[in-house]
C-alpha cells in the first residue's frame, strides 16, 4: 500500500501543479469579471450622492466623495419617477398574472397526448414563434383596437410568449402520466386536475415562468414606448430614457424649482434616477435568483 502510494506521488505532484495554475487563473479571471460588473454600479451610485463639485471635476470614482441627497430628492419629488414606477408595477403585476394563467391554460391541453386538435394548435404557436409579422402590422392592430395609452395596450401583446408556453408544455409532458390518468378514472374534471394535481407538481416551472414574464414586463422599453404617448402612462423604462435624453431640461427645471445648488448636476441627476431604478432589482434579487437558475436548467435540459 505504502509502496503504491509512493509510486504515484511524482504524478500526483505534477497534476497538483497544473491544478494550482488553473485555480489561480480562475480566481484572477472571475474576480476581474465580478469587478467589471460591480464597479460601473458603484460608480453610478457614487455619482448620485457625491457633492456636485466633485462630480463636475471628475473626482468621483468608485466610492462617494461625500454625501448629499439633493439629486435623489429632486428625482423622487420633482419628476414623475414614482408615478412611472407605479405604472411599471401595475403592468408587471397584472401582466404576469394574466400571462401565467393563459400560459398554463394553453400548455396543459397541448401537453395531453390524447387531446384532439393538438397538432394544429401547436403548429399555430410554433409558426407564430418563428415567423414574425413585423412591427408595423403589430402596431396597427394595437392602434385599431384603441389600446394606445392604456395598460391593456402595454400588457396584452405579451399575454402569451410562445417560448415560455413550450417550456411549460414540455414540463407538463414529463410529469408521470399515471397520476393524471388515475385522477381521470376517479372522475376529476380537467380544471380540477390542472388546479389540484398538475400545478402543485409543477411549482418549479411555474415559478420560473412567472419570473420570466415579470422581468419581461418590467424591463420592456420598446413596446411601452411605442404604445404610450402621454407622460401619465409612461413606465419606468420610458421615463428613464426620456430623462436621460432631456437631462439638460431636467437640470434647468430642478434649479428652477428648488433654487440654485452646486450639488444639482446633469450627471448627478442621471445617476440618481439610475440608482433609484437599480435599488428595487437589487433588493428583490436574492429572492428571485434561485428560481431563474432552476429555470435555466429546466429550459436547457428540455430544450
Amino acid at each position: 500500500m505504502n509502496k503504491r502510494h509512493y509510486k504515484f506521488k511524482p504524478d500526483k505532484q505534477r497534476s497538483d501543479h497544473s491544478e494550482r495554475t488553473v485555480r489561480i487563473i480562475a480566481y484572477v479571471f472571475l474576480t476581474v469579471l465580478c469587478f467589471l460588473v460591480i464597479l460601473p454600479c458603484l460608480n453610478v451610485i457614487s455619482e448620485a450622492v457625491s457633492p456636485g463639485t466633485d462630480v463636475l471635476g471628475g473626482h468621483v470614482f468608485f466610492w462617494p466623495t461625500g454625501l448629499q441627497f439633493e439629486n435623489i430628492r429632486y428625482i423622487l419629488t420633482g419628476t414623475s419617477f414614482l408615478h412611472s414606477m407605479f405604472n411599471s408595477l401595475i403592468v408587471t403585476i397584472f401582466g404576469t398574472l394574466i400571462s401565467v394563467l393563459t400560459t398554463i391554460g394553453t400548455a396543459y391541453p397541448l401537453s395531453r397526448p390524447d387531446f384532439r386538435g393538438r397538432t394544429i394548435i401547436t403548429f399555430l404557436y410554433v409558426f407564430s414563434m418563428i415567423f414574425f409579422g413585423g412591427m408595423i402590422p403589430a402596431y396597427m392592430v394595437v392602434k385599431t383596437l384603441g389600446l394606445i395609452d392604456t395598460y391593456a395596450g402595454i400588457i396584452l401583446p405579451f399575454a402569451i410568449v410562445q417560448f415560455n408556453m413550450f417550456m411549460m408544455k414540455n414540463y407538463f409532458e414529463a410529469l408521470p402520466p399515471e397520476v393524471i390518468e388515475s385522477a381521470c378514472v376517479d372522475g376529476a374534471g380537467d380544471l380540477k386536475i390542472v388546479s389540484s394535481i398538475v400545478c402543485p407538481m409543477s411549482k418549479p416551472v411555474i415559478a420560473t415562468i412567472t419570473l420570466l414574464y415579470a422581468v419581461g414586463y418590467w424591463n420592456n422599453y420598446f413596446h411601452a414606448m411605442l404604445y404610450t404617448t402621454s407622460t401619465k402612462m409612461q413606465t419606468l423604462q420610458v421615463y428613464l430614457k426620456n430623462l436621460i435624453a432631456n437631462i439638460q431640461d431636467t437640470l434647468a427645471e430642478s434649479v428652477g424649482s428648488t433654487g440654485y445648488s452646486q450639488n444639482l448636476t446633469s450627471d448627478g441627476l442621471t445617476a440618481s434616477a439610475v440608482t433609484m431604478s437599480i435599488i428595487p432589482i437589487v433588493l428583490l434579487y436574492p429572492f428571485i435568483a434561485r428560481y431563474l437558475v432552476s429555470g435555466i436548467t429546466i429550459g436547457s435540459v428540455k430544450g
Binding site: C34, N43, G58, T102, G133, V141, Q162, F166, D190, W218
Partner: protein, 326 residues
C-alpha cells in the same frame, strides 16, 4: 389496417375518417373545459400574432393610413402596387448598409461574446470554495435583470465626457473619447454592454451542463496521470460540446437579430452609418417617417430570411443533436 387498404381503400379511408370524427366529437363532449382553457391563449395568439400576418400585404400595396376608418381597414382600401417597394428597397444603398451593419454587429458579438460564458463556466467549475463560487455566480448574474435602458443609464454616466472612463483616459495623457458618437467606439460599447448583460446568464447554462458530466471520468483521468489542462480539454469540453453546438446553431439562426432594443436605446444620428440595423431602420422609416410600405417590405424580407435561418438551424440541430428547438 395495412391489409384492409388494398381491398377497398376508399371505403376504408372513409370509415377511418368517420371514426376519427366520432372520436374527436366524443373527446370534445367529455372535455369541454380543455377547450375553454385554450381560449384566452388562442384569442391573444390570433389578435397579436396572427392578425399582424394579414398586415404583411402593406409591403405590396401603396399603403395610405387615411384611406380607411382605422389602420387595418385602410390596408384593403390601398392600391396593389406589386413589387415596387421591394425594387426601391433592393436598389437603395440604405438596404445594403443596414444589412451589413446587422451582420457586422452580430458577428462581432458572436466572436467576442460566444466563448466568454464557456470559459467562465469551465473556470467556475474549477473553483471549489463554495462561498466564492456563490458570490461570483450571484454577481455576474445580476445584470441580466437590468433593462437596456438601465444599462444605458449606467454606461451613459461612466462614458460621459466627465465620467470616470474619460477621467482615467485624460489622466493617462490621452484625449477625451466620446463613446456614444464615435462610430468605432460605439460598436465596442455595444459589444461590451451585451457581454456585461448576458455573460452571467449564459455561464449558468453551461454550468448546468457541466454538472451533468460524470465525475468518475475525472477520477479515472487523475489515476492515468492527466493534469488539469488535459482533464479540461479531454473531459469538460467534450462534455459541454452538445450544449456549445446547440447554442451556436441557435445564435447563428438568430444572426439577423443584432439586438434591437439595445441599439434603439444606445444609438443616435451620429452613428447611424455603422449602428443602424434592420430593426431600427424598419422602426425609424416606418413609425418615425410614416413610410409604412417601404418599412414593411424591409420587415418582410427580414422575417422571411430569419424564418429560413431558424428552420435551417432546427434541421441541423435535429440531425446533429437529435434535439428540436421547439
Amino acid at each position: 389496417m395495412q391489409h384492409e387498404v388494398p381491398v377497398s381503400s376508399k371505403a376504408a379511408t372513409q370509415k377511418n375518417f368517420r371514426s376519427k370524427c366520432r372520436k374527436t366529437w366524443l373527446y370534445i363532449k367529455h372535455h369541454p373545459t380543455m377547450y375553454l382553457m385554450l381560449l384566452p391563449g388562442l384569442f391573444f395568439l390570433f389578435i397579436y400574432k396572427l392578425l399582424p400576418l394579414y398586415g404583411i400585404q402593406i409591403a405590396f400595396r401603396d399603403y395610405n393610413i387615411f384611406l380607411g376608418d382605422n389602420p387595418i381597414d385602410a390596408i384593403a382600401k390601398s392600391d396593389w402596387i406589386g413589387l415596387k417597394y421591394f425594387q426601391r428597397l433592393f436598389s437603395s444603398s440604405q438596404f445594403f448598409k443596414v444589412l451589413r451593419n446587422t451582420l457586422v454587429i452580430s458577428c462581432l458579438k458572436i466572436i467576442f461574446l460566444f466563448p466568454l460564458p464557456i470559459i467562465c463556466a469551465i473556470l467556475l467549475n474549477e473553483v471549489h470554495k463554495k462561498v466564492y463560487h456563490r458570490i461570483v455566480q450571484t454577481v455576474i448574474y445580476i445584470p441580466y435583470f437590468f433593462s437596456w435602458v438601465l444599462i444605458y443609464g449606467v454606461f451613459y454616466t461612466i462614458v460621459s465626457s466627465y465620467g470616470v472612463i474619460n477621467t482615467i483616459i485624460t489622466s493617462l495623457g490621452f484625449e477625451r473619447i466620446n463613446f456614444l458618437t464615435d462610430p468605432g467606439n460605439f460598436l465596442g460599447l455595444i459589444v461590451f454592454t451585451e457581454g456585461w448583460k448576458e455573460t452571467g446568464y449564459n455561464t449558468i447554462i453551461y454550468l448546468a451542463s457541466i454538472t451533468s458530466i460524470d465525475t468518475t471520468l475525472y477520477d479515472a483521468a487523475k489515476v492515468d496521470g492527466a493534469n488539469k489542462w488535459k482533464q479540461i480539454w479531454h473531459i469538460t469540453l467534450p462534455g459541454l460540446l452538445p450544449t456549445i453546438v446547440l447554442m451556436l446553431i441557435l445564435r447563428i439562426g438568430n444572426i439577423l437579430n443584432a439586438g434591437f432594443e439595445q441599439i434603439l436605446v444606445f444609438y443616435n444620428p451620429a452613428v447611424y452609418n455603422t449602428a443602424d440595423i434592420i430593426d431600427t431602420y424598419v422602426y425609424r422609416i416606418g413609425l418615425g417617417q410614416m413610410d409604412f410600405s417601404l418599412s414593411s417590405a424591409m420587415s418582410l424580407f427580414n422575417s422571411v430570411v430569419a424564418f429560413i435561418l431558424i428552420v435551417g438551424a432546427n434541421t441541423i440541430s435535429k440531425k446533429l443533436l437529435h434535439r428540436s428547438i421547439w
